[in-house]
């Protein structure tokens, strides 16, 4: 297949500028039976995340007597891509699960729940590049919705190099035909980027390009961070009107 022209008159295929995110929609608390959940749309990506726990770990030998174990399952629905994907975990999804889990692990206060486990399930219902970043964003909202103790929020965004330009939040065409794809996740605390929780790179960037990519990603992440907060606020605002009475014994 011939490589299409990805950038026309300084605009990207979907009319975005280089530093623009795709439209994002986040909704918290969509699943009744989960402790915390989130539905997220990032452009054409559609993700649903569910968090269960802290709860008992089975099988028992996986328990850690000093801290909680975190399990993260990234899965793509067979219908999420154009050509039907064979169901079940494969090399790619196992790897994404691992790196995403490792991004979340230092943020969650695992030592507060020894011998327990926190399970995070994220399902990709529709994929359009940058699913691991979208999944992390959804998982992060679901974790907060579940009331899990954490140090801050994880927000993730990808940057790509397309025809020599560094662009934010690539979509499918840019990912497929671009020169580099760099998903990055940050730990954001109190409106400030504290550290990098995940960084991968497919392709090559020069040092200068990498610096620029980081700047772009930081800007994009802050925008997503605000949307994540908004989504959680929206769920609890309606419930929250008056200060609770002082708790007391019976």
């Amino acid at each position: 297949m011939q490589k299409p022209k990805l950038i026309v008159d300084g605009k990207r295929l979907d009319g975005r500028g280089f530093e623009e995110l795709r439209p994002i929609k986040i909704e918290a608390g969509v699943l009744k039976r989960a402790d915390g959940s989130c539905y997220l749309e990032m452009g054409k990506n559609k993700i649903i995340a569910a968090v269960y726990g802290p709860r008992e770990v089975h099988p028992r030998h996986l328990q850690d007597p000093s801290k909680a174990v975190i399990r993260y399952r990234y899965n793509m629905a067979p219908f999420s891509v154009e050509e039907r994907k064979k169901p079940g975990p494969d090399r790619r999804s196992v790897e994404i699960s691992k790196v995403s889990r490792e991004a979340l692990e230092p943020v969650i206060m695992k030592e507060l729940f020894p011998r327990s486990g926190i399970d995070v399930f994220v399902e990709v219902l529709q994929a359009d590049a940058g699913t691991r970043t979208a999944c992390l964003n959804a998982a992060s909202v679901a974790l907060i919705d579940a009331g899990v103790a954490m140090r801050g929020m994880v927000t993730s965004v990808a940057v790509a190099k397309v025809e020599g330009n560094i662009v934010l939040d690539p979509m499918k065409e840019e990912d497929n035909y671009g020169d580099a794809d760099v998903p990055i996740a940050f730990l954001i605390r109190n409106d400030r980027i504290e550290s990098i929780a995940l960084l991968q790179m497919d392709g090559r960037l020069t040092l200068e390009e990498m610096k620029k990519a980081m700047e772009l990603a930081k800007k994009g992440a802050m925008q997503i961070y605000r949307l994540q907060r908004e989504a959680i606020m929206k769920k609890y605002m309606k419930e929250e009107t008056e200060e609770p009475e002082e708790e007391n014994e019976q």
């Binding site: 579940a146 009107t241 007391n248």
Partner: protein, 226 residues
């Protein structure tokens, strides 16, 4: 109205004020989980909006026996950790040389008290307390444990009102399980009321509204009888 805070929000700069639901890093106090901010001059804490029950010693809990062992019972208290109730912590006067599974069997519900919880989160229960007993009658209602303080109310106002208005027995477990016993129709009213409390946990004048709701329901009950 109290502010909703999220994990990582900076809520105070004085580490000595740090209370429940907060953590301190480099002399600054941050929120640990999603909740409502309760801030005074001397202390700051976060009241959780959601989350699992974590046992702490002295809590009254309601649990279900899941396993019977030679020296006690394993009790599910709806927390990430299973609790253990040793036979020795069962009230002596009721033992009368019975076997362990004759006292309590799998599926039986109990009202117990958390005796201790060690750093490895091994939970031990006791039933040597006047509120503790095996539950053989009545109904158990489950709610979000973060809402339990609302069901109890200010200095027990809500629970006292429910008990006196309906003339029923209620025991609230800190783990979100509530035992109600008494006249079946009145228990149903109480159950409905508890679900309303859970739903509207943070609204103003809740006790008054629940009182009204119960009076109305009681009126309907009496009308139906005549």
């Amino acid at each position: 109205m109290r502010k909703i805070v999220m994990p990582g929000d900076l809520i105070a700069k004085n580490p000595r004020a740090a209370g429940y639901g907060t953590y301190v890093e480099k002399g600054k106090v941050y929120a640990k989980f999603l909740g409502l901010l309760d801030k005074t001059d001397t202390s700051v804490r976060v009241i959780p909006l959601k989350g699992r029950y974590i046992p702490s010693s002295g809590d009254v809990v309601i649990g279900i026996v899941r396993e019977v062992t030679a020296n006690g019972w394993i009790v599910d208290v709806y927390s990430p950790y299973q609790a253990f109730l040793p036979v020795l912590e069962y009230p002596e006067n009721a033992m009368r040389n019975k076997k362990v599974n004759e006292l309590l069997d799998i599926g039986d519900a109990i009202i117990g008290k958390v005796l201790s919880i060690d750093p490895k989160m091994k939970v031990t229960l006791t039933m040597k307390d006047k509120v503790c007993k095996p539950v053989r009658v009545g109904r158990i209602v489950a709610i979000n444990p973060a809402r339990v303080p609302r069901v109890i109310g200010k200095k027990g106002s809500m629970i006292k009102m429910l008990k006196s208005e309906l003339g029923i027995q209620i025991v609230v477990g800190q783990n979100g399980l509530i035992w109600i016993n008494g006249d079946r129709r009145k228990v149903s009213i109480a159950e409905e009321a508890i679900y309303i409390i859970e739903e509207e946990a943070h609204t103003e004048g809740l006790t008054d509204r629940i009182t009204e709701f119960i009076k109305k329901k009681k009126g309907e009950l009496e009308n139906a009888e005549t």
